[in-house]
Amino acid sequence: MQRGEQRDEVEMLSLMLLIRRFEERASQQYQAQKIGGFCHLYIGQEAVVAGAVAAVRDDDYIITAYRDHAHALARGTSTDACMAELFGKETGCSRGLGGSMHFFNRQNHMYGGHAIVGAHVPLAVGMAFAIKYRGEDRVTLCFFGDGAINQGAFHEALNLGALYKLPIVFICENNLFAMGTSVKRSTSLKQIVDRTEGYDIPGEIVDGMNFREVRDKVAETVDSIRKEPHPAFLEVRTYRYRGHSMSDPASYRTKEELEKYRLDDPITRLRAQLTREGKLTNEQFDLLDKHAKETVLASVKFAEASPELPLEKLYDYTYADGAVAAGRLAVSDRARAADMAVTTEQKG
């Protein structure tokens, strides 16, 4: 087993830098109208996913909500595939069919990318159910925001996870705001972690701006789960520097508040820790950053040059067993021709 402490911290700092530079570039490309729809950036929260991923095995399951670029990158999805997805291209990690909120990477056990708040928490419980069903020692990490904790699906999922004693870590990335509504205005409790008491699930508060603390807490939790399957809950306190999405100027919070968190920046903090311990020089850091920027810039070029899914493949991703939609199965050639005519008409 690959224990958390053994993951190279410089490598994880490099991942955090890559996430930040990716998000900055995504922001710029969004403003340049190369990216459509909604786009939620992870800037400020990098230590959460980096710390968690550093603490688990590559075959453990990861699933998250719509602020998901970082989770895909942390699970080894290339910046090319991520940027191409934002551009809606066939080379994207979801072939351009999912977009910003629906990044998937089956091979690397990243199970999305889910955009209905709280609705993926039951999915995560189902993945943990499958682990126990098969008698495996994997663990599911389920990320969600503070906004999810007031959804019915969340509560049902926590109860099911506890009832069936499933191997899952519920990781609440508490960035203090559900869109524009602060936790104080959305949640009846003084602290989110107390929600877990109602489900008899052990919960802890973690400093999400501190990579090492996240990693160590997740590692400790996951170790305990591997010994005896059970759910656990971590309220990871973090902060997003940007608005909820690209269209949000975040006028519901003060500049002072943002500055306070910026001073506690997770990348700066890990960098300082490593520098102080003689594990990283300024030159090395600059090199890592330069590499991250170049990689991301190259991914924009890749995305731009990539093809879109051809229209002929429109129906290829609706049913797993055929290239035609169910409404078109087993119809006469004449009817099929009529269907095509109607479709063409609608397009026109």
Partner: protein, 327 residues
């Protein structure tokens, strides 16, 4: 062939699929220790154990989602809703997560899940417990929907649904659980493909298109009409999606007259889609406008007399048939 009930047929289908594939499990409210609210899962807990026959709390949204998540990593869940009226609590999981995953992931995650349970009006259960959900779900790309009306179809369609690599809804007919019919013996594999209608009775004057609880109604009416020298062909759709257009068109090519009798509501109901497809593809074959018999467009009343008035019945169906036959 031997005669068994619709309920037994479903039970056999479940047992055979659980036996065949260790990735199949059955989950839902009261499915294990209570043996199912309608006793469809009778004996399965004893045979397959609590690991595979799993009681849930009353959390449809939660356990439907659990099933979708388990399917993402390769299990083949069968999720029972005590009735499809309760599936509406899990609408988000059935509509947003199960069918969209394959598309949203660019084909990486198909969801081989079966949602099953009784659907459609029963008897004096009033508005919240009488939903016919087939038209809601059939309108969602990525879902398949079937509506067995006989024990044989129930068994064959459920087994096919469990083996399908997509989310499939098996909408069982609440009023037909105790009905009997001939089914192949258990040692003979019975699989009925999705998207294949079945001509339940041949006729030459008019096609009655039906499914689920309207199939026995259509057969009864066809017998009555025979006495009046009207030969009705009864086409049981069996699957709403995929829809077997060919079977519908073949029947109409013969009879030139159609009545669709459905158990859902008229507005945007299944019959509306069938009508559209008929007129689009074989308009010239029609000798009369298509008529539909459905529920009245009101929430289901509890009062028995009013409930009867809301539902499709023999009187309404006979009147519609006579109208299209100008009889």
């Amino acid at each position: 062939m031997r005669e068994i009930t619709y309920r037994q047929a479903l039970n056999e289908a479940l047992a055979e699929e659980l036996e065949r594939d260790p990735n199949v499990f059955l989950m839902g409210e009261e499915v294990a220790e209570y043996h199912g609210a309608y006793k469809v899962s009778q004996g399965l807990l004893e045979r397959f154990g609590p690991k595979r026959i799993i009681d849930t709390p009353i959390s449809e949204n939660g356990f439907a989602g659990l099933g979708v998540g388990a399917a993402m990593v390769g299990l083949r869940p069968i999720i029972e809703f005590m009735t499809f009226s309760f599936s509406l609590v899990a609408f988000d999981q059935i509509v947003n997560n199960a069918p969209n995953m394959f598309t949203m992931s660019g084909g990486q995650f198909n969801i081989p899940i079966t949602f099953r349970g009784p659907n459609g009006p029963a008897h004096q259960l009033a508005a919240t417990h009488s939903h016919a959900t087939e038209n809601f779900y059939a309108s969602v790309p990525g879902l398949k929907v079937c509506t067995p009306a006989t024990p044989r179809d129930a068994k064959g369609l459920l087994k096919t649904a469990v083996r399908d690599d997509n989310p499939v809804l098996v909408l069982e007919a609440e009023l037909l659980y105790s009905s009997k019919g001939m089914v192949e013996p258990p040692d003979k594999e019975l699989l009925i493909p999705l998207g294949k209608a079945d001509v339940k009775r041949e006729g030459s004057d008019v096609s009655i298109i039906c499914y689920a609880q309207t199939v026995p109604l259509a057969l009864k009416v066809a017998s009555q009409l025979e006495e009046e020298d009207i030969s009705a062909e009864v086409v049981d759709l069996r699957s709403i999606k995929p829809l077997d257009e060919r079977a519908i068109f073949d029947s109409i090519a013969k009879t030139h007259r159609v009545v669709i009798v459905e158990q859902d509501h008229p507005f945007c109901g299944v019959g509306a889609e069938v009508c559209y497809r008929i007129q689009r593809s074989i308009f010239d074959a029609l000798d009369a406008p298509i008529l539909r018999v459905s529920q009245e467009d009101v929430p289901m009343p509890y009062n028995e007399r009013l409930e009867k008035a809301v539902l499709p019945n023999a009187e309404k169906l006979i009147a519609a048939v006579k109208q299209v036959c100008y009889a």
